[in-house]
Symmetry: C2
Subunit: 422 residues, 2 copies
């Protein structure tokens, strides 16, 4: 295997090219010709292979030098694989067993060999099917609290934190995707945009003329680019999460960079709220009322678990340069540290509502739509679901410093869903 | 001259070691033996030489691998010279003729050869002497607006901005000085602290027990470390500024890194306010009432010029990825851009008050004191001046989001100064 020049793997070439790696031989057996290889990448960007024998299985994920969905006309650097590898190893250390284990990384070939998660399914798919996963609220609340706390100056040595800031600052192209597709394109008639036509046309025109909303979106973009607070996953939606009833794993952190704590939390919550508003479009098999109640409960509980775990880490692992114990606990002023924690959690809450509202908009008005809505075949029904979500997103983003609690946000979602407010 | 191993220059060795450089020969003449060399470094960190002939002069500034003031027991990386060089060249491009021109940089020898500013004096010294410099408010308002706007995502290509973020993220040791000496040490009994004893003891105890103040200081530290908004000077006090009646130059940017816009502005204003409170200690030659009026006017005018120039750049040079014209002006919504500008300027105002209050405290309670107060020989008088400044700093930092304007802040300073409020 040439260590220098990149070559895309194929189902046929994979065993020969990777057959010498001890990390694979120990898991799959020492006869590469007996390895069964399938290409299963259904994402937009990469090649993904499942390699199996009776002994076990691994995932081989390889970046391509362009956006797979679009083709060679949209080049994208192979280095995203490098960022994914470095994010995965850090997340594994900070939130053990919540990301796939990495077995091997080859920078020149832009490939990561990692744990094959089975019988896991993509969380988004499960929620569309109406499955109530019992452990996601806890698992994801813990994952976010741990990775976001432990990747910041609250916990790390500042030298290491700044080295990581510099390392991930080079992830320019993937940040650029977010900067444009999430924060700007949805709010004007950008070329790559799409929305459900003609049903949503009037509302879309209204939103694109909404000054407060546009200013809010740009304020959030400013935070996204300039608030280098912690190592964020950067793309933490329900399509980046694989689940069973008892296990939750976060995958695909190639958008990782130093950004605001609230970004991951806001994006995840936005995807739960979108799932909530989309349930109405999936009721052919029966009422989704229990599913809606479940989703609001997941939001309430995930935010509560996040705050509880973040607060625990604050009290037990606050060993970085920020809010030092010398100034508070060591002076007998533990309440001073609690006051600072309350300020920080409040700031995260306000910012996450902003990010969540914008994420909802870009998934309905921008380039990358969600299967939650896209799988609703009745276009009028789909548009009704999307309209409620759009209005909810506008409200929580613009009014983010006037909404006090998750129950208040959820109550608004419920009133919009029932048509009690339009 | 060995390009590899560092060797400190001396008055004797300088002509021989630098005599071959065309950048010096063209300015000083081609006979190094005729160059007159003086070492004039009165700062805490570096060697500074003036090299002159009848033809002209240059400054040679060389870093030492330790803190000059303390000695080899406090090592400090030579690389700060690299950051100074890169900051100077960027500032020169962004705010022409407001920093010394760089003639030559030698990374291995950690030395920068630059413009000899004469007959300039250090601004702090001039203010202590009661000199009213007519152009500093305008010059410094423009300098800050231009460097801070043009070093951010408001103006730069985001790829270049992120490359600079990474480059300056390595300036760990000098940021560490600020993180500790400015934001934390003053608020507990840190070893390096000093204050006027015993006169200030009761007030110092009160401030170190002040929960809201300590939380504020740590919130500002969090902003300092995590808000990577623009290339800041990082040490913009009146000792880093050289002036004549008609020229103002900003020197010594070795603390440069990506931080909050408000940091430079807050630190500079803090130093003007400290000069204001210290004037009472310098009245042996006559009333300093006109000087006090001048300083409040400088604060008012500098902030006004900053806002006016920042707003002009916003309207004319907003070519970065933030608050794009496509969303506002191009949609006929110029007022949307004005709304975002107002939000940003308001945020800068609130944050600068926080940074200013903390800067005042660290200059009276921490390691590095200001000549403004230190040159007052009557210790009771000195302590009275310092106490007023400390109370002012506490008030503006803790109440930073409740103070509406510079005239309001200045009115408080005046009432404190007169003893109308204590």
């Amino acid at each position: 295997m040439d260590a220098k020049s990149f070559e895309a793997l194929t189902v046929e070439s994979l065993p020969a090219r990777l057959g010498g790696l001890e990390e694979l031989r120990s898991r799959l057996g020492a006869e590469p010709s007996a390895w069964r290889v399938r290409e299963v990448g259904d994402g937009n960007l990469n090649l993904v292979f499942i390699v199996e024998t009776d002994k076990g299985g691994v995932i081989v994920k390889q970046a391509l030098p362009y956006v797979r969905l679009v083709g060679e006309s949209w080049p994208l650097p192979l280095k995203r694989s490098f960022f994914e590898y470095h994010a995965l190893t850090r997340q594994q250390a900070r939130a053990p067993r919540q990301v796939p284990e990495v077995y091997h990384f080859d920078e020149a070939q832009a490939l990561v060999v990692m744990e094959y998660l089975t019988p896991h399914v993509i969380l988004r798919r499960a929620l569309i099917e109406g499955r109530q996963l019992p452990s996601i609220a806890d698992d994801l609340g813990l994952f976010m609290a741990r990775t976001l706390f432990r990747g910041s100056d609250l916990s790390m040595s500042t030298r290491q934190r700044k080295a990581d800031l510099a390392l991930f600052a080079d992830n320019v192209e993937l940040c650029d995707i977010t900067e444009n597709l999430v924060f700007s394109d949805p709010y004007f008639e950008a070329e790559l945009n799409a929305h459900t036509k003609p049903q949503l046309d009037p509302l879309v025109a209204e939103l694109r003329a909404d000054r407060d909303l546009k200013v809010t979106a740009q304020r959030m973009k400013h935070l996204f680019t300039a608030k280098a607070e912690t190592l964020v996953h950067g793309d933490l939606h329900t399509g980046s999460i694989m689940v069973t009833d008892s296990d939750t794993r976060v995958i695909d952190p190639e958008f990782a960079f130093y950004g605001p704590i609230a970004f991951d939390v806001g994006m995840l919550f936005a995807n739960f709220w979108m799932s909530y508003f989309s349930q109405e479009g999936h009721e052919e098999g029966g009422s989704r009322e229990p599913m809606r109640a479940y989703l609001l409960d997941v939001l309430e509980r995930c935010w509560s678990v996040f705050r509880t775990e973040f607060s625990r880490l604050w009290r037990e692992e606050r060993n970085g340069i920020l809010y030092q114990r010398t100034l508070f606990e060591d002076q007998g002023d533990a309440l001073g540290a609690e006051q600072a924690l309350d300020e920080l959690l409040h700031e995260i809450w306000v910012d996450l509502l902003g990010f969540a509202g914008i994420e909802i908009h870009r998934r309905i008005l921008g380039l990358a739509h969600n299967a939650d809505f896209e799988t609703i075949s009745d276009q009028d029904l789909k548009a009704r679901c999307e309209a409620k979500a759009l209005k909810f997103g506008r409200h929580i983003a613009v009014n983010r410093d006037r909404i006090h609690s998750m129950s208040e946000a959820n109550a608004l979602a419920a009133r919009l869903c029932k048509g009690a407010v339009t």
